[in-house]
Subunit: 426 residues, 2 copies
Amino acid sequence: MKASIINIGDELLIGQVVNTNAAYMSRSLTAAGIEVVEVSTVGDDSQSIESAVRRCLSISDVVLVTGGLGPTKDDITKATLCRMFRSELYENTEALENIERLFALRGFTLTDTNRRQAWVPQCCEMINNDMGTAPCMWFNISNGQCQDGGRKSKVKQALVSLPGVPFEMEYLIDRKIIPLIRERFEPGAIVNKNILVQGIGESFLSDRLERVEASLPPHIKLAYLPQAGMIKLRLTAKGKEETVLQEEIAQAVRDIRSAAGEFIVGEDHESLAEAVSDMMHSRRITLATAESCTGGEIATKLTAIPGASDYFKGAVVAYCNETKQSVLGVREETLDTHTAVSEETVREMAEGVRLKLNTDYAVATTGVAGPGGGTDDTPVGTVWMAVAGWEGTTTKKMRYNGRRQQVIDRATNEVLAMLMRVIGGQ
Amino acid sequence: MKASIINIGDELLIGQVVNTNAAYMSRSLTAAGIEVVEVSTVGDDSQSIESAVRRCLSISDVVLVTGGLGPTKDDITKATLCRMFRSELYENTEALENIERLFALRGFTLTDTNRRQAWVPQCCEMINNDMGTAPCMWFNISNGQCQDGGRKSKVKQALVSLPGVPFEMEYLIDRKIIPLIRERFEPGAIVNKNILVQGIGESFLSDRLERVEASLPPHIKLAYLPQAGMIKLRLTAKGKEETVLQEEIAQAVRDIRSAAGEFIVGEDHESLAEAVSDMMHSRRITLATAESCTGGEIATKLTAIPGASDYFKGAVVAYCNETKQSVLGVREETLDTHTAVSEETVREMAEGVRLKLNTDYAVATTGVAGPGGGTDDTPVGTVWMAVAGWEGTTTKKMRYNGRRQQVIDRATNEVLAMLMRVIGGQ
């Protein structure tokens, strides 16, 4: 079973908004056993929308469209689909009631502009959007035309139009659209497995895994997904029986472990922050961070995961020497003698925040993210990292290439991998 | 002049990686006066790649392709393009020297797998990738076929294949590809203008701007780009004379200011963090943050912008009551009487971090981001915010709908907008 995604919006084509919707939808569809064959982004333009819809209908069973459903003049998706399928707009009572409910909740007065959002094409099935004012629309398609009347027993193809606001789309996809697709299309099984690898380059890893890759059955694929300073390996198995796929994947994981086990820092996680979160929860360990060049990125990554307050007690972003001294207790002498970017400073930062926030472990970073601030002794990209715990303090120095955000992201992953290794006893 | 973007990679189709490359490329192309008409994402599959390339060549002058150039088996872009254009691969000396240089720099030994990256199709112009081992390839296209020999004086269409690693692609796009496109195609002018609006919903803003929108000339477009808790308005003007477009845009901005000026918190900025950064630099003000529910997101957003160390002295992420007391000096009595999510606590957090880090201004947040942790009195989505400065402390309470990340992002924007208003004297 195949799906395509079309994300509509001029803001995506001029790059003012990163298309996170595509990733979210792809992830949800894949997890539900539906293969995404294409993602297209087009502007708020009838002709582009129509031609993308026609093309995607020619290569997939389900086409999911987001965006262009707002109340403003640049939102033309609904009118375009209505004309394409030769239908008429009508005011849907359930959609209107939902809009009225949301306006009452927020204490706003309903305007004509907002009321227009309740109009949907007659040929579609309106799916209520509890999270927002733009209704979701399900079109049953047969031979490129919409099959009037909504819930048909035999669905050949479907086109679903969703709002582009991320949390509304996410709610609708997970709670309503994926369940409906599974109910109406009955797709096969897909099993995905992630393995996080850190401390080895892509080509070296590929050499190590050459024999494992060659021995994989054809319905199992191995992909290398480089992230900042690390690689996510992804195994994907497609077939009929989920339990069979699970067993085959488990064997492949064992093979990968025996070929490159020392570099594996996580399994079944999307990110190192998730791996750390699980480790902290299962071992009931508390953590704090002291961050200079990473500017709070480590704390942000960790606290983005629900339940962080169970183990994460806080962070000190010490973006100047004064803060390093006054909050973390780094000694003036250390800063004077060794500078802010040094092994001595990062060690005092990690130990200082661990003491101050009274945690089992603490990580620290100090470095030059760039583009300015580099010196001959400490060029841009130099980062000192530390992990402090019961067993003492481990430090590491890295010199990264790349831009500011790249340096921040790599240092964040590096120090989280260090933490995993220290706690895991590697 | 029109461009299309094709991003290749199974990791994009299963949603494991967010396609930030598309946004970056679109932004750079738009700023260079090149209209992006479509962005497509396809898997590591010859047929999908070939059909996307053919289609994009039929609707655009330049097609930019990223991804699938790595040394591993799942990278097939180069072989696909080579076969499509009936060319042969050869070992390019300059590309090989670049790979050898990068390996020597990292102290690694060159393997056969890596050496293969220096092979490129004979019909293309190799463009050296100083930042990585995968060479960039420029194909001059005429009637769907590659015009052998690289640098032709009359270029009709071009296809450019770039590596998918973000910082390598970014370097190549900005330093090499965009300059080459402008030199070889001479596109027209585009002027973009951003206006950041906060504190008013999209439909209310649309009502306010109805007359402004109606009065815009047809070559100027106004788009509404909702972000977390705010809206970015984007004016785009296309034409021949950049100075004329600049004047027309300036008039439109004046009209928007007179219709909704009180909600405008930034101009010429991509984000509120950028607007804050500019304000801080121009007024030589220092800043600190005390964050509970935002978990370091405010500090991360601010420090992501180069030059943050000029004004940002640090942050304290106080993710438990103990840290709020020990580092920020919030009184035990305040936490006991009013709880951690209260006006009193957020005020003491802002004032505490301002005192501790010795800054002109400080912002603070405390709330329940969810999904757990809500109570009847303080449901999920409740956030208290404060701005402390010379003129005293301003507080605000919000109750957000949406998921954890949504709550964090909205609170971050809300408190930055509060800061802009306090400092701007609104």
